[in-house]
Amino acid sequence: MNCDLCREKLDAYVDESLPAEVFGAVDEHLRACPSCASEALARLQMKRATRAAAARFSPSPEFRLRIENTIRKKRQTIWKIAWVPWLSAAAVALLLAVVSVTMLTRHAAREQALAELLDLHVATLASANPVDVVSTDRHTVKPWFQGKLPFTFNLPELQDSQFKLLGGKLIYLNHSPGAQLLFELRKHRLSVFIVQDQPGVLALGPSTRQTSEKGFSEETWTEGGLRYVVIGDAGSGDVHALSDLLRIAARQ
């Protein structure tokens, strides 16, 4: 390596930024060349002098405090802003989860209540004495429940309809007394359950009509503080027709 090339590399040499092989070559030249070695020493001294001279400004404690306060406020703001979408998303997710769980719970409770009523209906049909009061006359059946139920209800006039009242009996659902009325439509039997619309008695939710997987049609609604449920193996249209008759009677 000659002196010109060495001088070109001296800045990188004192900055220790030369590749190892070039550094070695410069080092070797400096050992042999007093002039270049002197120049290298001078540059190193200037680098050290610059380092000492350049470190001359220090922030005041007041300024440091001001910056810390600024950063703290900004960080809090950014933290709040940054969390808004996350919190919103979390809130929505939580709400969805709560709604889903609530709906699932309600659905499960409703299915259980309907299954229970269906069991009662089927058991009634299978019984040798399906009803306790046997009468096609609503003015006989309704009074039979007097003193047995903490509520009263109206029965529809069936003279001009295809339905026939067969009778009724007292039932208990979740320790709460209710009425089960049995109707006949052609050869089909339909049960009408009437209970007080109170929490924990029948968790059936809003008024619905549906046909179960087992072929039974069901319709339920609330009217005047009472819960009505009509179940039968007739078509859903027939169940609905009986439901309408009961609704009309309830409003009389």
């Binding site: 400004f57 910056i67 950063i71």
Partner: protein, 162 residues
């Protein structure tokens, strides 16, 4: 606050005004905080902070004036230093104030690269990241900056500028 004191010192050298340096540092930290998501983990945090400070400086009036002298002499090959002046002898007599004065007289692009290299001891790679220039430009600019500084020191001591 990482690098706070160092950044303040660098800001003072860039602006040559303490009040302006304080504004610059404050804006740098606010920008760094806001833009922290743009910082890529694993990359050089110090270079990232210095780059924010420098870019912020370039948007100020003083910074805009300084950019006029930027990049005017970077791309050509650096001139080899001559051997006539015994710098070791010269520097032995140079007072620290003389170095300070020389730094103050340098154009901003020379001053900043010398401070990043000599005071902050950044590698050429770090300087390239901080100043957003290629490595070759770092080396040539540094060489010219030191040559200019030597000239100022020599003139200040009654010697001959090289």
């Amino acid at each position: 606050m990482p690098h706070f004191a160092r950044l303040y010192n660098f800001a003072c050298w860039l602006t040559q005004d303490r009040a302006a340096a304080e504004d610059l540092v404050q804006e740098t930290f606010v920008k760094a905080l806001k833009g922290f998501s743009s910082y890529r983990q694993g990359t050089n945090f110090r270079a990232w902070m210095y780059r924010i400070l420098r870019n912020t400086f370039l948007t100020t009036q003083a910074g805009l004036r300084a950019t006029v002298s930027f990049d005017s002499d970077d791309d050509g090959p650096s001139e080899p230093a001559t051997a006539e002046t015994p710098e070791s002898f010269l520097l032995a007599r140079v007072e620290q104030q003389a170095v300070v004065s020389a730094l103050e007289e340098l154009p901003v692009n020379h001053r900043e690269i010398i401070i990043l290299c000599d005071l902050e001891e950044m590698s050429y790679q770090e300087i390239a990241q901080t100043l957003a220039i290629p490595m070759g430009t770092v080396m040539s600019r540094l060489s010219r900056a030191r040559k200019a500084m030597r000239a100022l020191l020599t003139a200040g001591t009654g010697g001959t500028a090289r």
